[in-house]
C-alpha cells in the first residue's frame, strides 16, 4: 500500500523560500555576539531548507512549464480596491531559486571556515541570510512593486556586507558607493514602476489576463509618445536603468570592482547568486514588456536594441580592463562586469533564455572562482596581488584543480565546460540578430580577452615560484572551504549539458515548451569554430606571455605592459570612469548642495528677518483694528499700518521677553477684538 509522492511546492507556499533565511537573519540579529554557532547553524539550516523547497518548487514548475502559477493577495486598502502583491511560480523563478539557494548554501558553508576568526562572525551570517532572503523574495515576486521592495533590500544587504569591515575607511566608502550608484539606477526603475502603475492600474506580472506582462496590457503601451518613442520603450528603458545599476552595466559599473572591499564570500555571493544576477533576472522577467515595441516599425529605437548595445559595450570594456588589473579579486570583478554584459547582450538580441542559461552556469563557476580566490587569500595571509603570489599549485592542490576548472569554464574552453555552451548560445543569438553585427564582434573580441586574462591569473598565482613569504607559507585549507569548491567545480562542468544545442532542455523549459527540439552540433557550426579558435588564441597568448617564463620577482615588469605601456596604464586606471564621475556628477551635486546651503544662509534667512518685521506689525494690525472698529475693513487698517510702522519698527529690540510681552498683549487684544466684534 505504499504510494510514492513526488511532492511539489505549490505557489501559495512559495513565500516559505525567502521566509526561511529571513527567519535565520532575525535569529542572527537577536542573538548576542557570542551566539556564533547558533547564527551560523540557523543560516545554514535555513538555506538548506530553502534549497529543498526550491527543488520541490522546480518539480511543480516543470510539471506545467507553460503556466505562470500565481497567488495574488491584497497588501493594503487603497481607494476602492487594494494594492495587491503576489507570488509567481514558473520555470524561470524555479531554476533561479534552485541556483541561488544551492550556491548560497555552499558559500555559507565556506564562510564558516573563512570567517572563523572574525569578531562579528554572527552578524556576518545574519547579513548573509538577509541578502539571500531578499534575493529569493525578488525571484518569487509576481509584482513589480514586491520585486522592487526586495531589490532595495538586496541593495541594503550588499551595503552592509561590502562595508562589513566598517573600521576600514575604504570598505565603508565602497559600501556607500555601491548603494548610491545602484540607487541612481533605481530612480529610473522607480519612475518606470510609477508609469506602469499609472497607465495599467496594477503592477502584477500575471493576473489572469490583466497583468502588466500579459498581451492586453502590452497592447495598451503601443502608442507613441510626443518624443517618438513607444510608451513601452520608454518604460522598458526606465526599468532597464535599475538593471544597469544593479548588474554593473556601463556606465554604472563603477561600484562593482570597489565592492571587493567586502569579505571574499560576500564577493562570491554578489557576483554569482545575488545582487548582480538580479538585474539580468529582472530583464528576463519583464522581457515581454521590453519586447513589446518590436512590432513597431517607425520608432527611433527599440528598447532591446539599447539593451544589446549596453551589454556589448560592457562585455568588451570589462574584459579589457580585467587584462590590466593585478588584484585577484579585481580581475574576477571585471570579468563579472564583462560576463554580465554578455547576458544583457543576449537579452538585447532577443534570447533571454540564453542569458538565463549563462547566468546559471556563470553563477556556479564565478562562485567557484571567488571562493577559490578566497581560499588563496586566506592561505596567503590576505595577500591579493597576483604579482606577490605564485607557485601555489603544489601547495594547494584542491584549490588549484577546482580553480582551473572554473577558469576554463569562464574562458569557454570547448565541450567539457559549462561556460562554453552558455556563451555559445549567446554568440549564436547575437549572430542571428539582424539589426547590427557589432554586438557579435564585441562578444567575440571579449572571448579572446577572457581567455587571456584568466590564463594570466592562473599562471601568475599558481605557477612559477612563490614570490613572497606569504605565498611561500600558504597551505591547503580545511574541508569546510574545499568541499564547496569541489561541488561547485562539478557543477561548472555538468551544468553546461542542460542546454547544448543538441538538446537545449533548459531553454525549452524556460520558454514553457514540454518538448525539446535540438539539432546536430555540426549544423551551422561555423560560428562555434570561430569562437573555439578565439579561445585557443587567448589561452595561447596568455600562456606565451605569462606561463612560459613565469615572473621571477614581484617587482618584475608585466610583459604586456612592457609592450603597450600607455594602453595598459589606461586600462589599469579603469579608463578613468571614477575620475570622470568625480569631476562631473560629483562636482555638480556638491556644487549644487553648496548653492543650496548658501541660499539657506543668505537668502531664506533674510526672509525670516523680513517676516519677523511683519510679525511685529501683526500686533499693530490688531490694535488699529480695535481702534477703528472691526468691520471698518482692511483698507483703513493698512493705511494706519503705514503711518505707525516707523514707530513700531523701534520696538524690534531683539529682547525676547519684550516680544513675549507683545505676544501676550496681542493675544489678549485679539480676544477682545473678536468678542467685541461679534457682540456688535
Amino acid at each position: 500500500m505504499f504510494r510514492v509522492f513526488l511532492m511539489s511546492l505549490s505557489v501559495q507556499n512559495l513565500w516559505l523560500i525567502p521566509a526561511l533565511p529571513l527567519a535565520a537573519a532575525a535569529i542572527g540579529a537577536l542573538t548576542p555576539r557570542t551566539g556564533r554557532a547558533l547564527a551560523a547553524g540557523a543560516a545554514i539550516t535555513a538555506m538548506a531548507g530553502a534549497f529543498i523547497l526550491s527543488c520541490l518548487a522546480l518539480v511543480g514548475a516543470l510539471a506545467e512549464p507553460a503556466a505562470h502559477q500565481v497567488f495574488n493577495f491584497a497588501w493594503f486598502d487603497l481607494g476602492h480596491g487594494a494594492l495587491r502583491l503576489g507570488l509567481l511560480l514558473d520555470p524561470l523563478t524555479a531554476f533561479m531559486g534552485v541556483m541561488v539557494t544551492f550556491v548560497s548554501l555552499l558559500i555559507f558553508i565556506f564562510s564558516t571556515g573563512y570567517m572563523k576568526d572574525d569578531a562579528n562572525y554572527k552578524q556576518f551570517f545574519c547579513f548573509l541570510s538577509l541578502f539571500a532572503s531578499a534575493m529569493l523574495g525578488l525571484l518569487v515576486a509576481n509584482s513589480l512593486l514586491l520585486l522592487f521592495v526586495c531589490w532595495e533590500l538586496v541593495g541594503l544587504a550588499s551595503y552592509l556586507l561590502i562595508g562589513f569591515w566598517f573600521h576600514k575607511p575604504a570598505a565603508a566608502a565602497a559600501a556607500k558607493k555601491a548603494f548610491i550608484t545602484t540607487r541612481i539606477g533605481d530612480l529610473g526603475f522607480l519612475l518606470g514602476i510609477l508609469w506602469l502603475q499609472d497607465t495599467q492600474g496594477t503592477l502584477l506580472f500575471y493576473d489572469g489576463g490583466h497583468g502588466i506582462l500579459e498581451s492586453a496590457a502590452l497592447a495598451n503601451l503601443a502608442h507613441l509618445l510626443p518624443c517618438g518613442l513607444a510608451a513601452s520603450t520608454a518604460i522598458g528603458l526606465l526599468i532597464f536603468c535599475g538593471a544597469i545599476g544593479k548588474s554593473g552595466q556601463f556606465p554604472l559599473h563603477v561600484w562593482l570592482p570597489d565592492a571587493m572591499e567586502g569579505p571574499t564570500p560576500v564577493s562570491a555571493l554578489i557576483h554569482a547568486a545575488t545582487m548582480v544576477a538580479a538585474g539580468v533576472f529582472l530583464m528576463a522577467r519583464v522581457y515581454p514588456l521590453m519586447a513589446a515595441d518590436q512590432g513597431l516599425a517607425n520608432v527611433p529605437v527599440h528598447a532591446l536594441t539599447v539593451v544589446a548595445c549596453i551589454g556589448a559595450i560592457t562585455a568588451l570594456m570589462g574584459a579589457l580592463i580585467a587584462v590590466a588589473q593585478n588584484d585577484i579579486k579585481r580581475i574576477l570583478a571585471f570579468s563579472t562586469v564583462s560576463q554580465l554584459g554578455y547576458m544583457m547582450l543576449a537579452i538585447g538580441v532577443g534570447s533571454w533564455t540564453a542569458a538565463i542559461f549563462h547566468l546559471l552556469t556563470h553563477a556556479f563557476f564565478k562562485a567557484l572562482l571567488f571562493l577559490g580566490a578566497g581560499s588563496v587569500i586566506h592561505a596567503a595571509h590576505h595577500e591579493q596581488d597576483i604579482r606577490r603570489l605564485g607557485g601555489l599549485r603544489p601547495k594547494m592542490k584542491v584549490t588549484f584543480a577546482t580553480f582551473a576548472i572554473g577558469m576554463m569554464a569562464l574562458a569557454g574552453v570547448p565541450f567539457l565546460f559549462s561556460g562554453f555552451w552558455s556563451k555559445e548560445a549567446i554568440l549564436h543569438a547575437a549572430h542571428e540578430w539582424n539589426v547590427s553585427s557589432l554586438p557579435l564582434y564585441a562578444g567575440l573580441a571579449a572571448v579572446v580577452l577572457t581567455a587571456l586574462y584568466m590564463t594570466r591569473l592562473v599562471a601568475e598565482v599558481f605557477f612559477g615560484a612563490a614570490r613572497t613569504a606569504e605565498a611561500d607559507h600558504a597551505h591547503e585549507n580545511s574541508p569546510a572551504m574545499t568541499m564547496p569548491l569541489v561541488l561547485l567545480a562539478l557543477c561548472a562542468v555538468l551544468l553546461g549539458f542542460l542546454g547544448t544545442p543538441a538538446f537545449p532542455w533548459l531553454q525549452a523549459r524556460l520558454l514553457g515548451d514540454s518538448e525539446v527540439h535540438g539539432h546536430s552540433l555540426l549544423e551551422g557550426s561555423g560560428l562555434m569554430r570561430v569562437s573555439i579558435v578565439l579561445v585557443a588564441l587567448g589561452l595561447g597568448a596568455g600562456w606565451a606571455l605569462y606561463g612560459r617564463r613565469p615572473r621571477a620577482r614581484a617587482e618584475s615588469p608585466d610583459p604586456l605592459a612592457a609592450r603597450a605601456p600607455r594602453l595598459i596604464a589606461a586600462l589599469a586606471s579603469r579608463l578613468g570612469f571614477d575620475e570622470l564621475y568625480a569631476a562631473t556628477v560629483g562636482r555638480l551635486s556638491s556644487g549644487f548642495a553648496t548653492f543650496c546651503a548658501f541660499l539657506e544662509i543668505y537668502v531664506w534667512d533674510g526672509a525670516v528677518r523680513f517676516l519677523a518685521g511683519l510679525g511685529e506689525l501683526s500686533g499693530l494690525v490688531s490694535r488699529e483694528n480695535d481702534e477703528q472698529g472691526f468691520n471698518a475693513g482692511f483698507n483703513s487698517a493698512s493705511e494706519s499700518l503705514r503711518k505707525t510702522s516707523t514707530a513700531y519698527s523701534k520696538a524690534q529690540s531683539g529682547d525676547a521677553h519684550g516680544y513675549l510681552r507683545t505676544l501676550a498683549l496681542g493675544f489678549v487684544l485679539l480676544l477682545i477684538i473678536v468678542i467685541l466684534g461679534g457682540a456688535r
Partner: protein
Amino acid sequence: MNLPLLSLLIFTPWAGALLLFVLRRGLSAGLARALPVVFSASTLILGSLALGRFDPAVTGMQLSENQPWITALNVHYHLGLDGLSLLLVLLTGVISPLALFASTRSVRNPAIHGALFLLLQGSALGVFLALDFFPWFVFWELSLVPAFFLIKLWGGPGATRAAYQFVIYTIGGSAFLLLGFAALYAAAGTFDFTELAALTHSGALAGKLGGGFWPQAAFLGVLLGLAVKVPLFPFHAWLPPAYAEAPTGTSMFLTGVMSKMGAYGFLRILWPIFPAPLHAAAGPLLWLALGGVVFSAFAAMKQTDLKRMVAYSSINHLSYCLLALFAVAASGPANPAATTAALSGTILQLFNHGLSAAALFFCIGVLESRASGLRRLGDFGGVRRAAPVFAGLCGISLFSSLGLPGLNGFVGEFLIFRGVFGLAPWTAAVATLGLLATALFLLTFWQRVFHGPAAGAGVNFRDLDAGDLIALVPLIALMFALGIFPQLLTGLINPLITAWAATLP
C-alpha cells in the same frame, strides 16, 4: 458610559501641567521625573480608547462634542475626530511620552520642564481635534508659548535667538491666518470648519465673501499662516535653528508632532474651505513644494551639525506631503486613482516621518549626551565598534528615513510618488533627486559617525542603556510593523480618503 473622550485627551495633559506647576517644589526628584511621563502617556491610552470606538467606514466626524461657548460670537466648543485626526492623535500619544522620557532623565528642573511639555502636548492635541476656528486658533497659538520656553531655557547656546525667531516667524504667519478667518467670519457668521466647508461646497461662501479680491485675500492669509508652520519652502528658515537648538525631547516633539500641525491645517481647513483658490494657486505652490523637496535635501548635504542635517531632512519629508497635496489640488478629479494614492501617501508620510525623525533626533541626543554636547559630523568616528546596538538601531532609523522598503517610510513615499506621477509626472521625476540626495547625506551621516576607525568622541563610546532602549525600541518596532503591515494605518483612513477623492471639485 458617555465620556467626553476628546476633551479628556486634550485636558489630561493640561491637568498634569497644572498639577506639576502647583506641586513643583513639593515633589520628590523621582516623582518630578515620572509624573510628566505618566500624564503624557494618557494620550496613548485615551487615543487607544478612541481607536476602539472609531469606525473607519464612517467618513464624517466621530466622537463629536459640540457646546456653545461664546454665543454672542457663535463660537462653539466643537471637537471631533476622523481618520486623519485619529492618526495624528495616536502619533502624539506615541511620540510625546517617549520624547518626554528621553529628556526628563537628565533635564534640570524636571517639574517645570514637564509642565511646559504637557502644556505643549495638550495644545497640539487641541489643534488636531478642534473643529471650530476659535478654539482651534487658541490651541494653535498657545502651543507656541511652552515651545518657546522649552527651547529658550533648556536649549543649546544659540537657543534664545532660535526660540525668538521661531515664535516671531510663526506668529507673523498666524496673524495672516487670523485675518483670513476674520474675513470669513465677517462674511459667513460662523467659525465652524465643517459648516464653512459645507458653505463652500454649496457655493454660498463665495457669494457671501463678495466678489473680486476678498476670497483671494482670505485664502492667502490662511495659506501664509499654514505655510510658515509646515513649513512650505521658502518660509522654512526658522526651522533648522529651532530644531537644532531645542533640547532632545523638544526636538523630537517639534519634528514628530508639531510639524504635522501645518500639514493638518492644509488638509482640514485650507483645502475644504478654499478649494477653488487653492486650485488656482496650486501650480506655483507645486513649484515651491518641489523646491522644498530638492533644495532642502541638497542643503542638508552641506550641514555639519547633525541636528541641522536632520532638520533639513524634515523639511524635505514634509515637502513631499505638500507636493502631493498641491498636485491633487492642481489636477482636480482627472485621475482618481492617483489622487487617492497621493492623499493616502501624504497622511502615511505624516505619521511615518514623525516616527523616523523623532528616532533620529533621539539618536543624535544620545551622541550629544555621550560626547558632552558635541554633535558635528566630524566629532565622531567608528562608534559602531564600541556601540553595536546603538549603531544598529540608529541605522534602522536612518534607513527608515531614506525610504527603504520593509520599513515604514517607503509606503508613504511610494504612494506620494505614485500619485504625483499620475497627476504631474515631471514634478515626480524631478523630486526623485530629493530621494537621491537624502540617501547621500543620511549614508554620509552613518558612515562618518559609525564607520571607520574609532576617533574623536567615538572612542570608548558607551552603548545604549536600558533607559535609552525603552525610548527607542518602540519607535523601531513601529517602523517594522508599519513597513510590513501598512494596512494598520490605511485601514483607518482609506474610506475617508476615498470619500475625499470622490468629492473633488
